[in-house]
């Protein structure tokens, strides 16, 4: 029968397509790790061309960008989930959030350059980079917060309000704790993305590393690992072992992504289990 043959054929093609997707991923990982892992020596981190400074800057900028974006992102998400009435104003905020989420990162980079580098006259700084990166984090934080809070059953709110709690008490003591696993997953997702971001930071945090190890001065320039990979791969300095550095840096970035992906699931699962308790009668 023709229909059955078509069904068999399509099934096989879909299997092949999906296997191809997985194969590409595996090829990516083996290629990057295979080339890079051998270079991850102490020399790679601490040597004269070592990436210790970049590694530190990556986490420092990530940390500052989260400090700047979390309060606003959570606040706006909470507003959208718990307070926002159905009207034009709410619609406008939702449209803005979605638009912000679709802005290409290079545009954020140029915006950050106008504001922090030129208007405030700071030049390339860790602070400017973090603040611009925070803009990239914002819309995702708003969405993740709103979704996590909406997943909390209505009955929890009713129970708390009926006991005479204010909305703020209800949020702080009941809704936010219940939504915590979802929030943590979302924040980890944001952090993973911010850690690999490059286009924004080239024009705001620059491509230089402080000479002082672990320099926490937010007004210093701060090249991150991802920017470093771009720099050594696109304009390799003659006389350096740029290719080895690039291989090692790519592997290090991938390892960071994998670790973040694992972190994505573990703590939230643990929290969830603790909230639900042993589910026996």
């Amino acid at each position: 029968m023709k229909a059955h043959q078509a069904d068999r054929f399509a099934t096989i093609m879909l299997w092949i397509g999906s296997l191809a997707i997985v194969a590409i991923l595996i090829a990516f990982l083996t290629l990057i790790l295979g080339r890079g892992l051998p270079h991850l020596t102490s020399e790679f981190f601490n040597g004269p061309d070592g990436v210790r400074g970049q590694l530190f800057n990556s986490f420092y900028i990530l940390f500052l960008s989260l400090v700047l974006s979390l309060p606003v992102g959570l606040g706006a998400g909470i507003y959208m989930a718990e307070y926002a009435p159905k009207n034009k104003f709410t619609d406008l905020i939702r449209l803005s959030t979605e638009s912000l989420a679709s802005v290409p990162s290079i545009v954020f980079g140029l915006f950050g350059m106008i504001v922090f580098v030129n208007m405030f006259g700071l030049g390339f700084t860790i602070l400017g980079g973090s603040a611009t990166l925070a803009l990239l984090n914002l819309p995702i934080l708003v969405r993740v917060t709103e979704e996590s809070l909406r997943a909390v059953p209505r009955s929890y709110r009713e129970a708390s309000l009926a006991l005479g709690a204010t909305m703020w008490q209800t949020l702080r003591k009941v809704i936010l704790p219940t939504a915590l696993p979802g929030l943590i997953t979302g924040i980890t997702l944001v952090a993973g993305r911010a850690l690999g971001e490059t286009a924004i930071l080239i024009f705001t945090a620059g491509m230089n590393v402080s000479r002082i190890p672990f320099d926490v001065n937010p007004l210093a320039a701060g090249e991150t690992l991802a920017v470093h990979l771009f720099a050594v791969k696109s304009n390799p300095l003659p006389g350096t072992n740029a290719d080895q550095i690039a291989d090692g840096t790519a592997a290090l970035l991938i390892i960071m992504v994998i670790v973040f992906n694992i972190c994505l699931t573990l703590p939230s699962r643990w929290l969830q289990r603790r909230q639900l308790g042993r589910n026996k009668v």
Binding site: A10, L100, V103, A226, V227
Partner: protein, 293 residues
């Protein structure tokens, strides 16, 4: 207890104000971005005619020629290649995950595609330079392999997670009854997928494709690393050219802020911003249509 009361109310009101102002701030940011980038970009046209900017492919700022058509064509070309390659593959993956994959395969494949999404774009560019450029060089018989095809392939891989996860969600959110009704009429699984499920999920799938395009056209680092960065009109798949994003990265560093050249680069960023906003409006229309049905 009563003297704590005023505190409780104060906190409640204060927190509400803080939440509202956060939401307003998010809206203000997008307006600021449009305003700043737009003003800077549009000032290009004080020196350059709009027609030249959009229709000429001669970009040599030193001799006063500001035609950005090369970059616009490069961006559109790479995005189209990415969608043509990555769209069908991603959709196949989504159908597979939603309808065919045994649970254990799905349990493995879903996190794997999420991992794709987490890989930084410079790493994609790095893989592009180390492997894909060699491959496209052979395919297109060009000496270097840098160009639209290499960028398109890298972008196709980058958009896979977007296409897969959003399309799968769209397929999964269909009522079970659709599938059951079709199967009960004696349709095969493939007939059900092709004639019932995919059409029914088409607003969601369309959203996935549009968002993937938005991601592809705005992608910067990965493209810049494999496009070749020559301001030459993209007349073949394997010759070095430029896109809007790659050219901004290349030239931003060596142009003085406020010069016509620099403004031209901001205008390119503004074009990208406008395209992104149009995509969002398209997505909203698509999902509203989906909801209306």
């Amino acid at each position: 207890m009563p003297q704590r009361k005023s505190w409780v109310y104060y906190n409640d009101r204060l927190s509400r104000y803080l939440f509202i102002s956060s939401a307003v701030l998010v809206s203000l940011i997008i307006l600021c971005i449009i305003w700043f980038v737009g003003m800077q970009g549009l000032s290009t046209f004080r020196e350059v005619s709009i027609i030249e900017f959009f229709t000429s492919s001669k970009w040599s700022p030193d001799s006063g020629k500001f035609g950005a058509l090369t970059f616009i064509a490069g961006s559109i070309g790479t995005t189209l290649i990415a969608i043509l390659l990555g769209g069908p593959l991603g959709l196949a993956g989504a159908v597979f995950l939603a309808e065919i994959a045994p649970p254990w395969v799905r349990a493995f494949m879903r996190p794997a595609t999420d991992l794709f999404a987490g890989i930084p774009s410079v790493v994609y560019g790095y893989v592009g330079i180390t492997v894909i450029v060699g491959l496209t060089g052979k395919l297109t018989n060009s000496p270097t392999g840098y160009g639209m095809l290499a960028a398109g392939i890298v972008l196709a891989i980058m958009i896979l997670p977007t296409v897969i996860s959003l399309s799968e969600d769209a397929l999964r959110s269909l009522p079970r009854t659709y599938k059951e009704a079709s199967l009960a009429l004696g349709a095969t699984r493939w007939q059900t997928i092709r004639r019932v499920l995919v059409p029914a999920a088409s607003p969601g799938i369309l959203t996935a494709i549009i968002l993937a395009m938005a991601r592809a056209i705005g992608e910067t680092m990965a493209v810049q690393m494999v496009i070749g960065n020559s301001p030459r009109f993209p007349d073949s798949l394997g010759s070095p050219t430029s896109t809007l994003t790659s050219n901004i990265v290349m030239e931003m560093g060596n142009t003085p802020f406020g010069s016509t050249w620099n403004n031209g680069l901001f205008m390119m960023a503004f074009i990208l911003l406008i395209i992104a906003l149009i995509m969002i409006i398209l997505v909203r229309t698509a999902s509203r249509k989906g909801a209306a049905r």
